[in-house]
Symmetry: C4
Subunit: 263 residues, 4 copies
């Protein structure tokens, strides 16, 4: 059963290092890849700030090219070693890998990193390179968090739909009431329901920037009533999400403990 | 027992399509009606924004008339088919339907949609047409959410009364304290308790627009003390609502599962 | 055992109407008194607003005098009927009543209502009349809420002390960090720790008026770190209060149900 | 077994008074030390405010020197009496004490208090003296709170890591979206992702100062979507912390009760 040929054996070891499984600790190689991804994301974020880039254009091009080469090498190794999933159908597994979402994100990130000749500060290129931020979903703990969040959403989709509908009604009623109370006095901020919805959104989330707010006595009374009545309703989906996520995490932990015990 | 006459049979099928029951999935017709209602509400919201309406007045009149015709047709079909609830007392059931709240809302929405000849931009007409937003309560998931919320409020009315009373006291104490501390310095914002209540409302909900805020050292200390002491109390009714709603939703889900099993 | 004399019988009936017990429904008289208290509080609040008082001084004096007479009559009836608590020691019970906190608040409210000859708009009188707001504690549901809140605080005093201490440390660390980061740039807002505490208070409660806020890059990073780390800690006492209050309310409800069953 | 020599007996009593154990009530001496520490911290905070210090420089120097002497005396007594922990290895215990974190903080606080000759208002000295705020960790209830918080963090480190990662992703996505939507219109506030993160931080914590906010329709829609989607996610780590802390506190309480019972 064991691989007899050196290449097969090497491929298996490479596969073991690169494969990410949900209920396992990270391999050393995967940990290194995560560090590189985080550095590349930090670079993508930093290069949007002119104050940082100015005078260091050369370094940024070099770093981007370097990350591109590393991601290209990792991509090719994955493409080669993924055959280990079903050695009899190596090319079918490789095709599956190529069309998987993480692999497509990788291709985009590699392409944007390896095209520095297009000129550094061109806006389109910079926006493409931001796609690299999505590579964060390949980082172990983040990937787990996203998976767990997805399970949590799925398990409570009925509650989330109902409370989201309720939150939408409250938001619309709030906007309609303030449109009615303040529309004539502040046409810029409350002159239509779509405009008043900006007020409703920043009030019912309790962000409260203060750029739009009622100024008449009637508008203030209405706004206070809407705020007291609405904040609880708006918080309902968030509360349901939090408890669902907490449950999903407890289950994940139990499964993780079982897998570790079995090994 | 089965309807022998073609008309009766048709009426029954129409009734089955239009009737909305709490523990059932939506019929195809009801799903279509919901889409139409959502579109009509979106139209009502959009037509309050002059930037969207200008130059498209004709389209808006046409769309409103169209929605009016659809809602009229649905109303008449409901009026006709509702007799199936008690075929022996067809007209009694129809009278009951006519005076029910959803049907009255429908009449208002139909009337406001089918009077475009009164001139498009007149403010009174626009306000009447906003009544159509209330039609959202006929949309399946929203109607369920409202019913569940009503049950949740009823089941905890004692707790809600008590905590709402407490929140009202805290609000009034906060306003009185700041009126006392800042009233002389900022008469516009804190010159009376009713004025100071606007500050108390936006602070204790943590919205914090920033249009009114203490400026003296004493006022700031008082405001900080009120904020720390009061935010928890103000959040009590919202927390009770959330847990009551969550319980009501769990019960609803269990009943839904039982109904589906029984079928 | 039953009262044989007419006066004793009348006194008992009056006592039964005026006495407020924690685990009973309100008597008709008590409900009427609550309505009067709420009206008197509303009057006290309204008369701080010059825009409402101007031109209606006469009505306000009359209303205040009227409320004063009603509260005086109620006070005297209570004083007379409280003897029913222990008919053998009528005057001892009356003395106890006179020195009880609710009765002292009543005296203050009556005195401030019946001295309109001192001139209507004088500030000291207006402040004294605000004491009437404290009469809210005599309103049935509010009194219960305050009692329950007191029990809730007492039952978790250890947790509340510990989390309040933690919140105080976080508040002070936040103020110190921003004093260090922004003190030189914005001496008015962050030039000392006491000044920076206003920023810390409005940020960690998430009120965020926006009158004081970091402007340097370092200050913004520090503020964001403090906000993420601190908001959870600041919310700990409020969360503990909420769960303690919720428990106290459940117990109260159970006792209320038992008392009603026993009757 | 009992100490026969007078010095040993005195040392034991001093040790009993100064030693702070987690599951015991405070000794009278420890309570006094706490009051002195709180006063010294209040002094450190107050002396950053020029309006308080001006004209009272002499009093501040005297108070600082006084606190320094008290802390020095306490430090020396602890150093002497700590030998009681293991009388056979007195000097080993003293060395352990000297290099412990609380003792090092004490040395710093004492040194900064006893160097008033360096000139009162010099900024470096003032900053050093702020180190005294860290002495709060030696105050009983605060020390317990910090210990319990540490245990709470440790017991849920997996959940906290995952949710913190999720919060970081949401923060970065929010900043990227607004950078994309508003970067061209408001280069000062949204011209790069690091700049837009200040907006994301103050919005997703719902602080909402209002210094940076979207102004275009697209930006407002994006900001509202990010706020509704993100606030729940950002609150996840805080909620996990709160429940973990609450559990740790309940365990601590149980242990405290057991220790008291055993005595």
């Amino acid at each position: 059963m064991k691989a007899a040929h050196a290449p097969r054996s090497l491929r298996r070891r490479v596969f073991g290092q690169l494969d990410l499984r949900l209920y396992r600790h990270l391999s050393a190689t995967n940990a290194a890849v995560i560090v590189v991804i985080l550095a590349a994301v930090a670079l993508s974020v930093a290069e949007t700030e002119p104050g940082i880039v100015r005078g260091n254009e050369g370094w940024f091009i070099a770093a981007n090219t370097g990350f591109g080469v590393v991601f290209l090498a990792e991509y090719l190794l994955r493409l080669w070693s993924v055959a280990e999933r079903a050695p009899q159908h190596a090319w079918r597994e490789r095709m599956r890998f190529v069309v998987s979402l993480p692999a497509l994100i990788d291709v985009l990130a590699i392409a944007s990193s390896l095209t520095p000749l297009l000129g550094f500060n061109s806006t389109p290129l910079r926006l493409v390179r931001l796609a690299r931020i999505v590579m964060l979903v390949r980082v172990g703990p983040f990937a787990r968090a996203c998976t767990l969040l997805g399970q949590a959403v799925a398990s409570r989709r009925f509650e989330l739909l109902v409370t989201a509908g309720l939150a939408a009604i409250v938001l619309m009623i709030g906007a309609t009431v303030l449109y009615w109370a303040e529309g004539a006095v502040q046409p810029e901020a409350f002159g239509s329901i779509p405009r008043a919805m900006w007020w409703a959104a920043e009030t019912l989330t309790t962000v409260g920037y203060g750029d739009v707010r009622p100024v008449t006595a009637l508008g203030k009374v209405m706004a206070a009533v809407m705020a007291f009545a609405g904040i609880g309703v708006i918080a309902l989906p968030a509360g349901i999400m939090a408890s669902a996520f907490s449950d999903a995490m407890a289950q994940h932990r139990a499964r993780l403990a079982k897998v570790e015990e079995a090994e």
